[in-house]
């Protein structure tokens, strides 16, 4: 009996630590009308067009960041694992650098370099979005790098690549048909973290785009002026983020293709 008590105690403490603040936020969001529980705060949030627009913008940026990180890191890490193993410690160190550089330093660095010729990217909307995407990629790189690296270490990469080559496959086929499906779970893990980072990222988005374009600056702005709506938005954004992460996971599970025979 006692043996079961301790595991359950720790699990319960963990659940409380995680869910209690969310529960408290949810309860607080229902108290917009004095004396009763109501969804008035939620109604107001949905009435504000900027909520949907900013969340959609941040979701799009998050998905784009995940895609670009995959495009950049999977081939790079594959090359490192196959041909440049001695460089791995150096690249690992570089991948950790974003941890020690505050976002505010990063954004001011970007603005100093890219707000003036010869690379005046911030003069155009597309250029600014591109710069923001690059910033998101840098911030999420340590997580994506670690996940993909762990995925590649878990498979016999060299032999799988050589087996594919001996069967006539070129590099594109090897990446799409062999490497990616076998590190999919690792890539998904990195993607979830990347998604959460981009949705909650405040500094880069605020300094590059202003207050209401991306989701986190919008949330911060609402928080300054109102009491209950930010709590409602927090609960909604948590639910939506979990929803999207679950969709990503479901999509990720069904990427195998049939070449021959039944499955």
């Amino acid at each position: 009996m006692l043996r079961r008590f301790w595991p359950w105690l720790w699990v319960s403490l963990g659940v409380l630590y995680f869910f209690l603040p969310i529960y408290a936020t949810f309860v607080f969001s229902l108290k917009a009308k004095k004396g009763i529980f109501s969804f008035i705060a939620y109604e107001r949030v949905f009435a504000d067009a900027r909520f949907g627009a900013s969340f959609l913008f941040s979701t799009q940026m998050a998905l784009l960041t995940i895609f670009c990180c995959m495009l950049l890191l999977i081939p790079t890490l594959t090359v490192l694992h196959l041909f440049l193993r001695r460089l791995r410690p150096i690249v690992e160190f570089v991948a950790l650098v974003p941890f020690v550089i505050p976002s505010v330093v990063l954004v001011f660095g970007y603005l100093r370099v890219f707000a003036r010729p010869p690379l005046s990217l911030t003069n155009t909307t597309l250029g600014t979005y591109g710069l923001l995407l690059a910033g998101y990629m840098v911030l999420s790189m340590p997580y994506m790098y670690r996940s993909i690296d762990a995925g590649l270490r878990a498979i016999d990469l060299r032999t799988l690549v050589e087996a594919s080559q001996s069967l006539g496959a070129g590099w594109v086929t090897i990446f799409v048909r062999v490497i990616f499906p076998n590190i999919r779970v690792a890539v998904l893990n990195g993607s979830f973290v990347t998604f959460a980072i981009v949705i909650g990222e405040l500094t880069l988005a605020r300094f590059m785009l202003g207050n209401a374009v991306a989701f986190a600056p919008y949330l911060a702005e609402i928080g300054r002026a109102r009491a209950y709506e930010p709590a409602a938005i927090t609960v909604l954004s948590l639910l939506m983020t979990w929803g999207i992460v679950m969709i990503l996971q479901l999509l990720g599970r069904n990427t195998t293709t049939t070449i021959a025979g039944p499955r």
Partner: protein, 349 residues
């Protein structure tokens, strides 16, 4: 005309020479094994044929075409790996059909070919299984089918049985040989297991320190090894230190032995004479080469009995047939063994 030619092939990693001056001609449909200890360059040579390693020098010519610089995916050479290397995300059928899919063959053709290959390896009911659902032996059969599905010009096998247990290894060894004979595919097989090489091969290439030590049919390699290395690596060997008396006689301890093949070393020089344990037998008056010693150990192996004899300061192994009508030698008794002069090899270094 030779189908696959390796001309002066050399591979160097930095200052380390992995393969030095490797020359070999392989006929179409031939089964050749590269045999040697770890680090002798056999796998590196195989990988150069596959295209996974660039040649430092030399040429590889396949069916009259120099493929030395051809990338591995354009060589039409199938390969089976020690670790199976099946794609974990694909079913058995998908694994076998992968090469055909890459080649852009129609789905119906892929389906039919996969079926043929599954019949060939006697696993038609395993189509929808994933590699993790198969045993090691089954995985390696699928890997073999996958390599053969594209009908490659050459099949390379890199120690394919070394990760399997003894029983499965023996069965799969037979299957590989049967499939190779049935399809008539030119095959190179890398192994460090001499029995495997002898059981499978038309010819064996014994390698040592990146060089070819000897090339020949299994019986040639076993019965007439050219160097001490080949003699000691292939099979068990008794090596006796002797002194040359004349072109056909040596002194082994206090006995004079006859040697059938003329000795090239000068008279009075010290040489090494080699005799296989199974070629020594209990002495009879007509046997000219005799050696007397004390029985140190007797091991009963079923069909044979291995006797360890201490003779003239040397340990000599003798394999006797287990004849139920004869008593097994007892330890600490004296025993005289002898051999035919034709079975004595005078070894070069």
């Amino acid at each position: 005309m030779s189908f696959l030619v390796l001309q002066g092939v050399r591979k160097q990693f930095g200052t380390t020479v992995a393969v030095a001056q490797f020359d070999l001609e392989i006929a179409r449909g031939e089964f050749v094994s590269f045999l040697g200890p770890s680090g002798c360059g056999k796998t590196t040579t195989l990988r150069m044929v596959a295209g996974f390693e660039q040649l430092t020098a030399g040429n590889i010519i396949l069916d009259g075409v120099d493929i030395s610089a051809t990338p591995p995916n354009k060589r039409n050479i199938g390969m089976v790996f020690q670790s199976y290397a099946l794609f974990p995300n694909m079913t058995v059928a998908d694994n076998i059909g992968f090469g055909l899919m890459v080649a852009g063959r129609p789905k119906a053709e892929i389906h039919a070919r996969v079926g043929e290959m599954l019949d060939l390896i006697a696993m038609p009911e395993y189509t929808a299984r994933y590699p993790y659902q198969l045993s090691g032996g089954q995985q390696q059969r699928v890997a073999l089918a996958r390599a053969l599905a594209l009908q490659p010009q050459v099949l390379l096998l890199d120690e394919p049985l070394s990760a399997l247990d003894a029983q499965i290894r023996d069965n799969l060894r037979q299957e590989i040989r049967e499939i190779q004979r049935r399809l008539g595919i030119t095959t190179i097989y890398v192994t460090h297991d001499q029995q495997e090489a002898m059981a499978l091969s038309d010819r064996i290439v014994v390698m040592s320190h990146g060089r070819v030590a000897q090339v020949g049919a299994p019986h040639e390699i076993y019965n007439a090894p050219r160097t001490r290395f080949v003699a000691s690596f292939v099979g068990t060997l008794n090596i006796l230190v002797a002194t040359v008396i004349d072109a056909h006689h040596v002194r082994v301890g206090e006995s004079v032995w006859q040697v059938a093949e003329a000795i090239v070393q000068p008279i009075g020089s010290s040489v090494e004479c080699a005799v296989r344990p199974e070629l020594l037998r209990e002495a009879t008056p007509e046997l000219p080469n005799q050696l007397t010693g004390v029985v140190h150990d007797v091991v009963f192996l079923g069909a044979t009995v291995r006797v360890t004899l201490l003779a003239q300061g040397q340990r000599v192994l003798v394999d006797l047939f287990n004849d139920a009508t004869h008593a097994i030698p007892q330890t600490n008794t004296t025993m005289t063994v002898g051999c035919d002069p034709r079975t004595v090899l005078v070894l070069a270094e």
